[in-house]
Amino acid sequence: MTKWYDLLEKYGKPTPWPYPIRYDEEQEIETDVLIIGGGIAGCWAAISAARNGVKVALVEKADTIRSGSGGPGCDHWCVTPANPHSKVDPDDWAKRLVEHPVHAGQPPKGPVPLSYSNGIGTQIQCRENYDTLLEIEQMGGKIRDVDDEYPGAEGRYDDTKFMFSPRMSPNHATEVTIRVWGTTFKPALKKECQRLGVKIYDRVMVTSLLTEGGVQGAKVVGATGFNNRTGEFMVFKSKAAVLATAGNYSLWMLNTELAGYTTFPGSRTKTGDGMVMAWKAGAELTLMEQTGPHMIGTGHKHTWYGGAGDASYENIQLVDANGKKLPWPLQGWPDGGDMRPSPEGMEKIIKGIKDGTYALPFYGDFPAMPDIERRVTWKLMLGEESTTKNITNSYEKGGFNPAKHLLMNYNLIEGNSPAHWRMPGRGGPVVDWDLKSTLDGLYVAGEQMFAAGDHSFAASTGRYAGRKAAAYAMHTGESKISRDQVSLEKARIYAPINRSDGIDWKELHAGISRAMQYFCSAYKTELLLNMGLDALKEIEEIFVPRLYALDPHKLMRGIEDLSLLTYGQIILNASLARKASSQVLDFYRIDYPEIDPPEWNKFITVKLENNEVKTGELPLNYWGDMKANYEAQNKDYTGVYKR
């Protein structure tokens, strides 16, 4: 008796909605700093703002206890060059990261001519990430092997009991990535928010930013939202807001079901709402044209967790079906956690498969590992990583024993992501050295900040944005919200509940995704991109007015679709603005085939002005001297919080 249709059979009619319906009610909340999104970045922003002595409200679409990409857990505290065992200087390391694009923890392979990394966020991470880690320990998070489970493991320091990962540290050359017990983090963060008096509004989806006088491009003075269980409308009035929402994962995915199969390396809730509300408020965004191939689900969950040889497995030798060692990186100490063979190495492996040198499928040879390293990878790394704890538990329940069994790897038998299956990239609002967007009163942190979607990046930039927003809120006057703007938004949000027929959120989602697949695939031209804009406009004008929602939950999914639609429009506009191809951005224009021509090595920006799209550009190092500017902006930084 645990499925909805069991109840239907039992009672002979649908069960009433389990929560009170409050579509007609409205709550107004006044605060100094409003945090939009209660994931890792949002919680840290809330904590840091509250510690700076201002009133804080945090709004979260799910429940803050486990919400966000890093809610379930985290196994690597990446980019921590200020730790006591580090062999690199934080400022030098920041510079190196920005000068070399780094993806998923891989070390740079030789000189790379340019990077589109966020230098401001990277500098903050390099300077403050270690302090942030020590603060999570104060709150009850586990960051060291205090229970002495792994003495003798390579990378463990007996004096501090820190355990290092080989990522970006070939043969211990840097020691910048610390292994952590991240399943302990999110509950500790929520508890600290509560201890500090942060008002938490769980199960509330924020839908728009409110601006002074309701004018696009004016100061942000609050936000609207609704409770996705009760439907109650919420109006937040704030002196400063921190946008700490997630990225977007499903824009190109036609199928909203079989989630574990192909759809979501991130949770269903990641629909880019924050980016869209910033866009509509008039904030300038950048790197929105960057997209990437979609990860196909293999084994349990998606590619990265599919089997050995992927991002979640370190120090494991890959072997072929006959046990022959493959020239694949170990993802270990000798190669600094490198995950993929070089393009030439991959070519050799593929050739070897075709001529019979290597037999498919490949396996991760767990039994060949030293016991201690096997336990570190299986129990600590996989056991603590975001959503992998239940995967290792499932393997074990199914009879898998890493001491006896080789784990199947899906590389080269899974096929590649088709050209029309893309994922939005890491674009986001342009920020300054306060992590302020181009709008007054709006600060930004975490995944959406045209930077790596990394747990510790979210934590350290959240912590930074929170204190900057608090400082701003202390010195700014009272905010005034525009009732007209609130009324317009309320009408937009509630429109689908006033219909009981038409198209539901799943059909609308598929329609938007199909337009993106057709007109914004790996192959782009001016004509296709413009057809994409026309297709989304048609959906907006013809089909959105037919969207209906039967309850507050489905209303949330429908409103998320509207975010996806606008998000698609932003990507199309940004793609039209970059009239060049770029390998670094995985961005290819058939009509502009030259790769990375020097005159296009710059950030392209897009924003709305009077609802017209305006494009612009910024130099790749628009943040100037990273060390000097960080120090100039943070003279009052006090380091680790004294509890």
């Binding site: 008796m1 645990t2 499925k3 909805w4 249709y5 069991d6 109840l7 239907l8 059979e9 069960t15 009433p16 389990p18 799910a62 429940d63 206890i65 486990r66 919400s67 966000g68 809610g71 379930p72 399943t183 996705n228 909203t256 079901e257 079989l258 989630a259 574990g260 199969y261 979501f264 991130g266 949770s267 269903r268 809730t269 689900g297 084994g299 349990h300 969950k301 599919g306 499928p361 396996y363 040879d365 039994p367 975001s386 959503t387 704890k389 239940n390 995967i391 538990n393 499932s394 329940k397 199914g398 009879g399 898998f400 006896k404 069994h405 080789l406 784990l407 199947m408 939950h553 999914r557």
Partner: protein, 100 residues
């Protein structure tokens, strides 16, 4: 043939059962309802009974419901058939799979 009423129901979304509750252990504390990012579950209308899986098609297999359950064994993962992984016994060469 079992004597069971046949209802006119549409196809059930797939997969319909991302988790399985054990009603002998689950006391309906609804921790899983609260920690789920997606709101896959709703509280059972009958107090003390396991939650109801309302939005199985939205599950992203994040696992918080199972990991945070205060009553071990009350809720367990049930991976969709196409997602179940393979492995090989190093000693015997036998190919194995999670076939529970």
């Amino acid at each position: 043939m079992p004597q069971k009423e046949i209802y006119a129901l549409p196809n059930i979304v797939s997969p319909a059962n991302p988790v399985i509750f054990n009603p002998d252990i689950c006391n309906g504390c609804n921790t899983c309802v609260e920690v789920c990012q997606i709101d896959v579950f709703m509280p059972n209308p009958e107090k003390g009974k396991p939650p109801v899986i309302l939005h199985p098609d939205e599950c992203w297999y994040g696992g918080c419901c199972v990991n945070d359950c205060p009553y071990p064994g009350a809720i367990s993962f049930n991976w969709p058939v196409q997602q179940r992984a393979y492995w090989k016994d190093k000693a015997t060469g036998k190919i194995l799979r999670d076939s529970q």
